[in-house]
Symmetry: C2
Subunit: 553 residues, 2 copies
């Protein structure tokens, strides 16, 4: 298919995306409903079969600078994937990518945009296959793996394309400049403006959201003309590998060297991330992961622009509610979803020690906690439903953390293992809730299903603590329950000063740990949890520069 046709084919999606990003109204390009009516009668079975076809063999990707095979992913549902991926020679890979990236850098914005949109469209068609791959690397339950790993991730990728396209097109390719000279002839110049990418973008994936957290950086760097090396987490390679292969397929069909997008797989024993991150050719880095490694990148990869999403401590304040049951249900689901293995899951829940006013009358601190614990318990009373919400625990470290904190004497609700039909080795755990014992016990991120109820003097105290916590520890989400407009206004002030998004009184089908592309920004870029937001102009506009020429005509 001709390159301009790809742009034309997807132009409507692009324009709708631009409109949505500017109105922030509800819009999605990729249906989140895994219904046969949407994705096809056999889509689920075919997707599962495609996933199974990858197991216990080498992943078929014909990539430059391959020097062996590597890979040892394990499904959190209790089996080895047995897939190997190319082991790359970093010098050879970078040298090759540098040698071939010029064509991509120099082609038109429309060509690159059309190709990125075609890639996203093909990724969308393979949402079931990618969903199973996400499920069996991250431990997400299938529905979430499908939605967050599929359409929602694709929306975030598209969002980055939308922002980058609009910003690149802000400058015309050609301009005629005519300066009046009084009675003399004007000075007339023709000026050409070229979009020049920075070089190679490195996308460092995480183990829990290998597509959702990687697509924004991948597509932002790619559409602006950079080559991209994807370095997945050793525990979640397959979703990245499938995505990279789709990128390569489309690039090749359209006449570009597929090595514009490559996969650099490593292992815990032979890590490549630092080596790649310090290469002078790597000019952009997108990272999701720990604060310590994010800080290392920011401090050491000085040749690159580094976009990081690190750890934070998310907070919820309970001041009062006119729907106690709905509030506790909403929070119970929030704490349970993917066993809290999300950078947006609340960890600390601040409740006045004197209790709160509710539609069921005054509730003491202990009654509020009991209500929350009861709602969590009730949510998981059915094992099938529990598994479908909780998913499996991705890492040994998180399992050990649950054990360690579960052994403390401040447990409010104990975590318990849930058996899963068909996957008897799956590591599924209900949330653990603790009561904060001092002012610091809960002040650093405890990744996974571990949260604290924290007694405070009153809501003013809660607000003060949260503002301080977000400024110091960072946060991506912040929720508050209150029937007082005044308190909500104060919370908005806290949110603005500390730089965190705030959700008011979530009691229905929206959860504080969820954001919708094109409407909600993910992170703000102005507290320690992240130095960028997904996605805004700042996320894309420095990934390329403009070089101009001018001449008299």
């Amino acid at each position: 298919m001709s390159q301009s046709s790809l742009f034309e084919r997807h132009k409507n999606t692009l324009e709708e995306g631009i409109r949505a990003s500017r109105t922030r109204e509800y819009w999605t390009a990729y249906p989140e409903n895994p219904s046969p009516h949407v994705y096809g009668e056999n889509a689920s079975a075919e997707g599962e079969a495609a996933f199974k076809s990858y197991l216990n063999k080498a992943f078929d990707i014909d990539q430059a600078a391959t020097i062996g095979a590597i890979g040892s992913e394990k499904s959190p549902y209790g089996f080895d994937l047995g897939i190997t991926y190319p082991k790359v020679d970093v010098d050879g890979l970078i040298m090759h990518v540098e040698s071939i990236r010029g064509d991509w850098a120099q082609t038109s914005v429309e060509t690159r945009t059309g190709i990125c949109l075609e890639i996203l469209s093909r990724i969308n068609k393979r949402s079931f296959e990618i969903g199973y791959a996400v499920m069996h690397t991250t431990g997400q339950a299938f529905m979430m793996a499908f939605q967050a790993g599929g359409p929602h991730a694709q929306d975030r990728g598209l969002e980055a394309v939308v922002y980058a396209y609009e910003d690149m097109k802000r400058t015309p390719a050609v301009a005629r400049w005519e300066k009046p000279q009084g009675k003399r002839d004007p000075i007339v110049m023709e000026k050409h403006f070229s979009i020049v990418p920075r070089g190679i973008g490195l996308v460092i994936g995480c183990s829990t959201f290998p597509t959702w957290n990687s697509y924004p950086g991948l597509f932002a760097s790619l559409v602006t003309g950079n080559a991209v090396i994807v370095k997945p987490h050793p525990g979640a390679i397959l979703p990245a590998a499938i995505s990279v292969k789709i990128c390569r397929d489309v690039l090749k069909e359209e006449g570009f060297d597929p090595n514009i997008v490559t996969l650099a797989t490593d292992s815990a024993n032979e890590p490549l991330t630092k080596i790649l991150a310090l290469r002078p050719e790597v000019k952009l880095i997108d990272f999701t992961g720990s604060t310590s490694f994010g800080d290392w990148l920011e401090n050491n990869a000085r040749q690159a622009l580094v976009y990081t999403e690190k750890a934070g401590v998310n907070c919820v304040i309970i001041d009062s509610t006119d729907s106690f049951r709905a509030m506790t249900s909403n929070l119970a689901f929030t704490l349970s979803l993917y066993s809290g293995q999300m950078c947006t899951t609340p960890q600390n829940i601040f409740i006045p020690k004197g209790g709160i006013e509710t539609d069921e009358g005054h509730k003491s601190f202990d009654e509020v906690v009991a209500g929350l614990a009861g709602a969590v318990d009730k949510l998981h009373s059915d094992e099938g439903r529990a598994c479908a919400i909780l998913g499996a625990i991705q890492s040994e470290a998180t399992l050990n953390r649950i054990k360690k904190y579960g052994a403390q004497d401040n447990v409010v609700l104990q975590s318990r293992a849930v058996p899963m039909a068909g996957f008897d080795k799956a590591t599924i755990q209900t949330p653990l809730i603790l009561k904060a014992v001092d002012k610091t016990s809960h002040n650093s991120e405890l990744f996974g299903p571990i949260s604290f109820v924290v007694p405070t003097e009153n809501t003013q105290d809660s607000l003060k603590i949260v503002e301080d916590s977000v400024k110091k520890q960072g946060a991506i989400s912040f929720g508050i329950y209150s029937t007082s407009e005044d308190v909500l206004g104060q919370a908005e002030g806290v949110a603005c000063r500390a730089g965190v998004a705030v959700s008011f009184n979530l009691t229905g089908g929206v959860y504080v740990n969820q954001t919708a592309a094109f409407s909600d920004f993910h992170a703000t870029g102005c507290n320690p949890a992240a130095n960028a937001a997904l996605s805004d102009t700042a996320f894309v506009s420095n990934r390329y520069r403009v070089v101009q020429s001018r001449k008299h005509i």
Copy 2:
């Protein structure tokens, strides 16, 4: 005047600026012609009188945290200005600014934009006064001081406001989000989006363009809601002080604390820049100056986003010309303008050792050099005209550099002092041209009127050397003369790969060291000479963040 009225008053200017920045056609908001018909019959005399009224007294600016007086500016035209400015207590200043900046951060984008546009409009009306202040601090001849220090600088300030306004308005203040739920009622949320500034912006001025190089950062940070501290170069305080005072006047009239914009004057003996730059409250830094200090800022002021314009080595390639006389005239003016004290003045002129083809027939290397030297000589044959082009040498260091290099045995055209009527102590020097003696003699920036003619094997060699030079030493401008479209195409390739703007065959009234706001970008941000461009989206979009709230309705 009400705040919304200021926005309405200047809305047309804003909209015209947006249009111009998108078409890159010729447009200016502030006339560069210092004619009485434009600026008023007595504008020049009144401006000069206003300038003289500042001399030999304390500058009247009522600023927080003042603990004394400081200042020892000298006019490069041979006299002491004798002006003192407030010496600030840094702790006190920053504490005060932090305590009062909230109102400015929280007011509407329109209010801030209206105020910035009113400030620019008032600065424009005082272009003569500022012009004299620029002349007698930088040494620029009056016409240039008026134009570059006045309307052109104002255009660059406006350009930053235009980009920031458009980007801030990309996100709506309020959105209604309505997610369909099949047959059930949709989920409906109201979302609020707040523009949140980063904190305090520090603008570090330079001695040669105290307004032109400072206004972009000043207005970009200010319009996005940050407070701004202007730290001028100790040698060029007055133009910054007048500008800051105008900012404060308008802020105060509009009901804001004037300390949203403050002046932090220092001296070579008691420098403040590093102290200010490392303050945790300083989140944005705009710097123009030496590579060593720019690098220091980038490496040490890690709490801030740092926008730097540092040193570079600008290049011109001569391949061939169909107008030898016009080419040499254009280059002679380019090298002479403000005695080469511009970050855009070419330093190295590459000429094939075998000579070039011209409209006057083949010219040997020496003939080309003689043509250029002759054109420079001729340009300065009249002393009055010479002074009006050259201006005065701003610093002792530049004067010493001219002496040192003028004493070498590779001089092609010697620099000579030019006397100026009425200013018998003015330090005015014609350009010094040297022949490169080896591959390195000319490879670092020699600020001021010192340039090299560099013999090369041929134009291919010249192109290769320039690409390498720009990548390593950085450059803000690049010019080439050639009658071959093929060679010009290759030069455009060099420009894109090295990341520098290129001008082809300038023979008329446009010079390689000049850029026009709204059409030409100043610097690219992708070679060592600068990490940002004036102005584009990347220059403004990270100076603020978006914080959202959401609730069900």
